[in-house]
């Protein structure tokens, strides 16, 4: 019976999973390896070399990179207080990634839920939610940052709150657009015809279909949040000392770009590489998720070249 019905597509042998495919693409593979490395740094780094990152060592003040005189911990140089930049990068990874991840998750959850409601419910509630998104979008994030900083005090959760709120509209609108499309698909009608409740349709049928899109946006947005956090630091409204992130390292180190470039360069490079990796991966994922384009990743390169002439 299996193939009896004529419609003979390519006999699917088990298609290579995304994880295997990603390693066929050298750029994407680099991105994955780098991100894993960074994540490891963030997880175990602070435990291992936390002290090096915070203890001033005036003898190593603004030590240039690749200078062996102070030992291997200083191979990326040191900052104004003589703290090892390598150690600070590792420790900073935790805050940087943690803040961005938490902010993305919060805004994804809040924006996603609101968007789901706005897309499914339509009517006045939907309009209100959309206008709310407009309001958030045009509310200056700097003012928000200041308000939170002043009234709630400087802390990492508050910074996450600021970053999360400003990103809500992106998810809200995308989610709504997706839901508007998905709710018209036939399987939603089919579920309604079976007597499924609204909750069931929303959570069991619509949400699983739209969540992958949201996660893709989340990955790109992660980069945006890291950069936004760094801009806030530049304006003095970001993370407050003694906590630090790569963004705040660049912000404080920018004054040294002409004299001790490494202080701002390494964290800047880390931000660049991290966001670049995420962007590359999300771009890769878009290709992967598009059935028309996926073959570009699946075929061996030699063959791909031959076909494209």
């Amino acid at each position: 019976m299996d193939k009896a019905e004529g419609a003979s597509g390519p006999k699917p042998k088990r298609p290579a999973g995304p994880l295997r495919l990603v390693f066929r693409d050298p750029l994407a593979a680099c991105a994955v390896v780098f991100l894993i490395f960074i994540a490891l740094c963030a997880l175990v780094g602070p435990v291992v070399i936390g002290d090096l990152a915070t203890t001033p060592n005036f003898r190593a003040r603004n030590l240039a990179p690749f200078d062996a005189s102070m030992g291997p911990a200083y191979f990326l140089g040191a900052d104004t207080l003589g703290r090892s930049l390598a150690a600070r990068l590792v420790v900073g990874a935790q805050n940087t990634l943690g803040i961005a991840a938490a902010a993305v998750m919060c805004s994804l959850f809040l924006g996603g839920t609101l968007g789901l409601v706005a897309g499914y419910a339509r009517g006045i509630g939907s309009t209100l939610i959309l206008r709310l998104a407009d309001v958030i979008m045009s509310f200056p994030s700097l003012l928000l940052a200041l308000i939170v900083l002043y009234s709630l005090g400087p802390s990492i959760p508050n910074l996450i709150l600021v970053l999360a709120i400003t990103r809500i509209p992106i998810y809200l609108r995308t989610m709504r657009a997706e839901v508007l499309e998905v709710r018209e698909r036939m399987f939603v009608g089919a579920a309604t015809a079976l007597g499924a409740s609204h909750a069931r349709i929303v959570f069991r049928h619509i949400a699983p279909v739209v969540i992958p899109t949201m996660l893709t946006i989340g990955a790109i947005d992660f980069a945006t949040v890291v950069l936004a956090e760094s801009s806030l630091s530049f304006l003095g409204l970001g993370i407050q000392s003694p906590e630090f992130t790569w963004g705040s390292m660049v912000a404080t180190g920018r004054g040294y770009l002409s004299t001790a470039w490494w202080v701002a360069f390494w964290p800047g490079l880390m931000i660049l590489l991290t966001t670049l990796s995420l962007n590359i991966l999300s771009s890769w994922w878009r290709t992967y998720a598009d059935p028309h384009q996926r073959w570009r990743l699946e075929l061996p390169r030699r063959l791909r070249r031959r076909i494209q002439k």
Partner: protein
């Protein structure tokens, strides 16, 4: 057409009012402005006098109604830090940002359309790889970092460009360059993705069957279709430029509204905060409407839509 614009405008007006209310109350949660206006060693009596003079000692709802009353008469208050009407200061600064943002956006859009299209024409090719990496790298670097490095390289070391400020055409190059990096990077990706989708559409096959050359297919047949999602993203990015050119303005000493707003925020110049928010919000809402109209201009299906 008119009814549409009218309907959208009324909705947006409501959103602007909501925004202003929000800004009004939230901004006043940020402490006593007297501390920031007056020197730190001013006395309690002096601060009180300051607050009385400016009405900051009234209950907040009275301040709010007074503000509404003034608004009704198109009085946007005085920017205390500037000794000038807030709206006047704002409207001086806004065009500077708008010019910068518009040019940066236009260039970014144009460059992204060309680079993204060419990249999509041969996905995975050398040009695609290069374009993707470079554009994404541009979008991934902290802008202030890029700006300062650019100044150190192009102005200080090479002496090719002025460091900052306004004036000659050369003064525009670096601010625009830094400002367009991110939109260019993101838009290139959007154009590329959208273009790849469009190029696999059936009507592209038709064009090839008609004997249309590849280049013409890409830039004439496909691009206009591919632009639709690009316009949406470009609109959002434009909004963030109008609202967020603050970093570039700060570094290059560009007298725009972003810098004005951050100064107002830091100094708790409430009238100025409110007028800058008002102007940028209105600009963003107008732009959203314009984008819808552009959409309709690009895609006849939207023009004739009936669902």
């Amino acid at each position: 057409m008119f009814t549409y614009v009218f309907r959208r405008s009324t909705q947006s007006m409501a959103a602007v009012v909501a925004l202003l209310v929000l800004v009004f109350f939230l901004a006043r949660l940020t402490g006593d402005p007297a501390y920031l206006y007056l020197p730190l060693d001013s006395t309690e009596a002096q601060r009180q006098a300051f607050n009385e003079l400016n009405g900051f000692d009234d209950p907040i709802y009275i301040q709010f109604f007074r503000y509404l009353g003034d608004l009704a008469q198109l009085d946007f208050g005085t920017a205390l830090s500037r000794n000038r009407p807030a709206m006047e200061v704002t409207l001086e600064a806004f065009p500077e940002t708008l010019k910068l943002a518009t040019i940066a956006m236009a260039l970014a859009l144009f460059a992204a359309a060309v680079v993204g299209s060419l990249a999509a024409a041969r996905p995975g090719g050398v040009f695609d790889r290069l374009a993707t990496t470079i554009s994404l790298a541009g979008a991934s670097a902290p802008d202030f970092w890029v700006a300062i490095v650019a100044i150190l390289v192009f102005a200080v070391s090479l002496g090719l460009l002025p460091t900052s400020g306004t004036g000659s055409a050369l003064h525009w190059i670096m601010p625009i360059g830094v400002l367009m990096l991110r939109p260019f990077g993101l838009l290139t990706q959007v154009v590329r993705g959208s273009m790849m989708g469009v190029l696999s559409q059936p009507y592209i096959k038709t064009a090839r069957a008609k004997g249309v050359a590849r280049r013409r297919i890409i830039f004439v047949h496909a691009l206009r279709n591919a632009l639709l999602p690009v316009i949406t993203v470009a609109g959002d990015l434009m909004a963030s430029l109008v609202n967020g050119a603050v970093v570039v303005e700060t570094i290059f000493g560009w007298p725009g509204i972003g810098k004005l707003m951050i100064d107002a925020i830091v100094r708790r110049d409430f009238a100025l905060i409110q007028s800058t928010v008002l102007v940028t919000a209105v600009a963003i809402f107008v732009m959203n409407i314009v984008i819808d109209l552009i959409y309709a201009a690009v895609d006849p299906r939207i023009r004739h839509q009936q669902t």
